[in-house]
């Protein structure tokens, strides 16, 4: 790169910021790991009141999960477009990813409201508490991802467009986005299907 200080570095061969980002993601695993463990511990216990199985709608959640998974595809398409320096397409796919993420979030908000009206509230029982904190924590991650994608889309409006070697760039946000998707696959399985 242009203004390269020849000061030697990166003995691992992985770009420094990407390495830092991977380490960040590895701690995210522990955040979700702790939450999922707590969920599984409480799942097997007796608790009074309404259960998730009484209120949930598997087809609905399956569809919104599908939407989230598709957003990973559009994310990859954005990345590919940027690799060939097709700014127009990159922006389109970025926006598509953000929109799909937003649809998933909207689905989650709808679902939460629905559950709430059916009497499955945050403090109904230990199961509902864990459910809301766990899926809500994931929802917060999706929200942050959508904000990042929109910010990136906004930056892409500039004259210079986006580039793969600059800034908190597309590649990191893509890593983050895929991570959040993978976590949802686990959550959907553990919380809804098992």
């Amino acid at each position: 790169m242009s203004d390269a200080h020849a000061y030697p570095h990166e003995p691992t061969g992985v770009e420094t910021r990407k390495l830092g980002f991977w380490i960040f993601l590895s701690t995210e695993i522990l955040f979700f790991g702790t939450l999922i463990t707590t969920f599984l511990i409480f799942k097997g216990r007796d608790f009074p009141g309404i259960k998730l199985t009484d209120v949930y709608d598997i087809p609905f959640t399956s569809v919104s999960s599908f939407v989230l998974l598709m957003s990973s595809l559009t994310m990859v398409l954005a990345h590919n477009a940027l690799e060939t320096d097709d700014q127009e397409k990159t922006r389109v796919w970025l926006l598509a990813t953000a929109m799909l993420g937003a649809v998933f979030l909207a689905g989650q908000i709808y679902e939460f409201t629905e559950f709430y009206h059916k009497g499955f509230e945050l403090s109904t029982n230990i199961f509902s508490s864990t459910f809301y904190v766990l899926t809500g924590f994931h929802g917060l991650h999706v929200f942050v991802g959508v904000v990042l994608l929109l910010a990136l889309w906004g930056v892409g409006q500039r004259q210079r467009g986006l580039s793969l070697n600059e800034g908190m760039n597309l590649e990191f946000i893509a890593l983050y986005w895929h991570f959040v998707d993978i976590v949802w696959i686990v959550l959907f399985t553990v919380v809804y299907l098992i």
């Binding site: 203004d3 200080h5 020849a6 000061y7 003995p11 992985v14 420094t16 230990i126 508490s129 800034g167």
Partner: protein, 662 residues
């Protein structure tokens, strides 16, 4: 290719030290050395506060049936003493060492992410202030039928559920009021600071090493920083989630840890100690690293068994995740779990023992220089062995259940955390004093400090062993005269005041030597690692030229060869080499670009306490202030261009070419 994030405001550093001074240059700094120094002072301030709290506790316990503090005040004081010492004193002082030394030891200009580094520091400051603001705004109400019938003083309006915050005692029913919320959210904020610094240090060690600095050539202190960073990165998320649960329980009516709602108080203990035990190693491993630098230097021998020490460090870090339930032998865990955790506790003593024997091997037959850092390092070994041995006794479950919650435990962990961690830290403070300030500390005062501290320490914590075995209970504000515990408690209190005097001597020495100390010679200790191959105090650019490392203890091998019997012989021309190094270190041939200051980390960091207050007081305006600060900080940070174009200045007309380094 460099990935140092460089902000908008430019500042080019030319071939002479920058004269930038003043408060703002410190507040906006992203220089790892300045951040390290600020970490050190902030942490020392909290160390004094925590020490003051300990003195209040000791005055209360100096005689039976005392009423110097009320029960409520006593609870607040021991909670804040523990929380302060662990999260606001020892951890950040270690962070000060990491910040200052890590780039120097691996031959780098700065850490991998200088602005993130500033962010860690400011989040730590914000978290500390948030936690302590409980004395101004917090309330500790009376539990139903509880002890609090008198009016609650400000002193008692601090968190009072212990640094471990056991549930349900720290829950809303038994700890009403907002004080424990300050505790939970304060720790959450401080955790973010440590997490961010952990990413930063891991990346720095992996990716910022200079040419030839292979992993197995890194100084042991760097290795221990590496281990601690992994411990932080993998243990803090656990406590973060557990603290989320606590905050939900207290604020939003969930029952994660409350049996009446189907929750599980023992789950809190598991989550807490799953973090809490690695935390113990987070506190002690930096001291291991420091001592492993000091002992070889003043024994004039290489560190005995370098790979063994490194692997033992990682062994401790790894096994450290598998011993947490030995804190819970008195809770309802199964006999199988008790046996298992008892065993793993015994096993973790093995790598620790390996280290101790390696240190002994290092000083064995060496030419010892008994100056202050060396005395503290030797004191560290002695005190840590005592604390380590009483630690192993806790792996014997039947004995441990007798000792649980007695002063025997208090004695044990003060021997490892004070006699261990803090002695190591003092050793490091004296050892690197010339490096940081370019002046020598006063040796006589240093020795007085050491002896006062060693005596005061043992007088304070030694008798606690037998007080504990006689059955004196922790966290209890009075004891009856008939228990005959009065005599030794008085001795302990006297010891605590000797420690206070020792700290005063240290401060006097520090203040005096900072201004009036002798000018430090280049390489004052005839040291081994490359941070001593540059001038003191360290120039802003650290290394004027990227060093190339050819062996472990590279600087030593530049100065010394071996004769036929393997004895170290000073090479000819070493004096000239040192003069040359000093000359070169002060006058780099080329223009050096350093990351420029930024105030966005500060803004971002101070958004967090507002979010904390917003949760406690359910206030939308406060939340908005917090979010706005976060947005300004984040947006400003994100829009600072990364590949800044350096303007060619008049002094160096061809700066474009010379900006390429090497």
């Amino acid at each position: 290719m460099t990935k140092i994030i460089e902000p908008k405001k430019q500042r080019n550093i030319f071939s002479r030290p920058s004269s930038e001074t003043g408060v703002w240059s410190w507040i906006t700094t992203v220089d790892h050395k300045r951040i390290g120094i600020m970490y050190g002072y902030a942490a020392f301030f909290f160390l004094l506060v925590g020490g003051l709290e300990a003195l209040l506790l000791r005055i209360q316990l100096s005689q039976p049936d005392n009423n110097f503090l009320s029960a409520a005040e006593y609870n607040a004081m021991f909670t804040m003493h523990g929380t302060t010492m662990i999260f606001l004193a020892i951890m950040p002082i270690s962070a000060a060492f990491f910040n200052y030394l890590l780039p120097l030891q691996i031959g780098a200009r700065d850490v991998a992410f200088p602005r993130l580094n500033a962010l860690s520091f400011w989040i730590f400051v914000a978290g500390g202030l948030f936690l302590y603001s409980t004395f101004l705004f917090g309330t500790a109400g009376a539990p139903e039928g509880g002890y609090l019938d008198e009016e609650v003083s400000r002193l008692a309006s601090a968190p009072n559920g212990g640094w471990f915050g056991y549930q349900p005692n720290a829950g809303l029913r038994y700890s009403p009021g907002t004080a424990m919320d300050y505790w939970a959210i304060g720790l959450q904020i401080l955790g973010i600071a440590s997490l961010v610094s952990a990413f930063n240090f891991i990346t720095t060690i992996l990716n910022m090493r200079t040419k030839g600095m292979r992993l197995m050539r890194m100084p042991v202190f760097t290795w221990m920083t590496f281990a601690v960073s992994f411990l932080l990165a993998f243990s803090l998320p656990i406590i973060a989630i557990a603290l989320f649960f606590v905050t939900f329980d207290r604020q939003f009516g969930t029952t994660f840890f409350l049996t009446e709602g189907g929750g599980d108080p023992v789950l809190w203990q598991h989550l807490f100690w799953l973090f809490g035990h690695p935390e113990v190693y987070i506190l002690i491993l930096p001291a291991f690293g420091i001592v492993s630098e000091v002992l070889p230097t003043f024994s004039r021998k290489p560190l005995f068994g370098y790979p063994a020490i490194v692997f033992a460090g990682f062994g401790i870090a790894f096994i450290g995740f598998g011993v947490w339930a030995h804190h819970m032998f008195a809770s309802a865990i199964s006999p199988v779990a008790q046996a298992g955790f008892g065993l793993s506790t015994m096993i973790i003593a093995v790598p620790t023992g390996v280290k101790i024997f390696n240190w002994l091997g290092t000083i064995w037959g060496g030419k010892l220089t008994l100056n202050t850092p060396m005395l503290f390092a030797l004191g560290f070994i002695g005190m840590f062995v005592i604390g380590g041995l009483s630690g192993v006794t806790h792996s014997v479950v039947p004995a441990d259940t007798q000792q649980t919650d007695t002063y025997y435990i208090v004695a044990h962990f003060h021997y490892v955390l004070f006699g261990g961690a803090l002695f190591g830290i003092f050793s490091g403070l004296y050892f690197w004093f010339p490096k940081v300030w370019g002046r020598m500390y006063n040796e006589t005062m240093g020795k007085i400090h050491f002896w006062l501290m060693l005596i005061g320490f043992n007088v304070t914590f030694g008798p606690m062993h037998w007080l504990g075995l006689q059955g004196q209970v922790r966290r209890t504000w009075v004891y009856a005269e008939e228990t005959n515990l009065g005599f030794w408690n008085l001795i302990v209190t006297i010891g605590a005041f000797i420690l206070a005097v020792a700290i005063l001597v240290f401060m006097a020495n520090w203040i005096y030597s900072r201004r009036k100390g002798e000018k430090a010679p280049f390489d004052p200790w005839d040291a081994r690692t490359i941070e001593w191959s540059i001038p003191s105090p360290t120039p802003v650019w650290n290394f004027s030229k990227a060093p190339e490392i050819k062996s472990l203890d590279d600087f030593w091998h530049q100065k010394y060869g071996e004769d036929e019997d393997g004895r170290a012989v000073r090479r000819e021309g070493t004096d000239e080499l040192l003069l040359k190094l000093e000359e070169e270190g002060l006058n780099p041939d080329e223009e050096i670009h350093l990351p420029s200051p930024s105030y966005f980390p500060l803004i971002l960091a101070f958004g967090l306490p507002f979010l904390g207050y917003a949760v406690i007081y359910k206030s939308i305006p406060l939340a908005l202030i917090g979010v706005i600060l976060l947005l300004i900080g984040g947006f400003g940070w994100g829009t600072e261009p990364l590949e800044e174009e350096f303007e060619t200045s008049e002094e160096t007309p061809d700066a474009k070419e010379s900006s390429t380094y090497e």
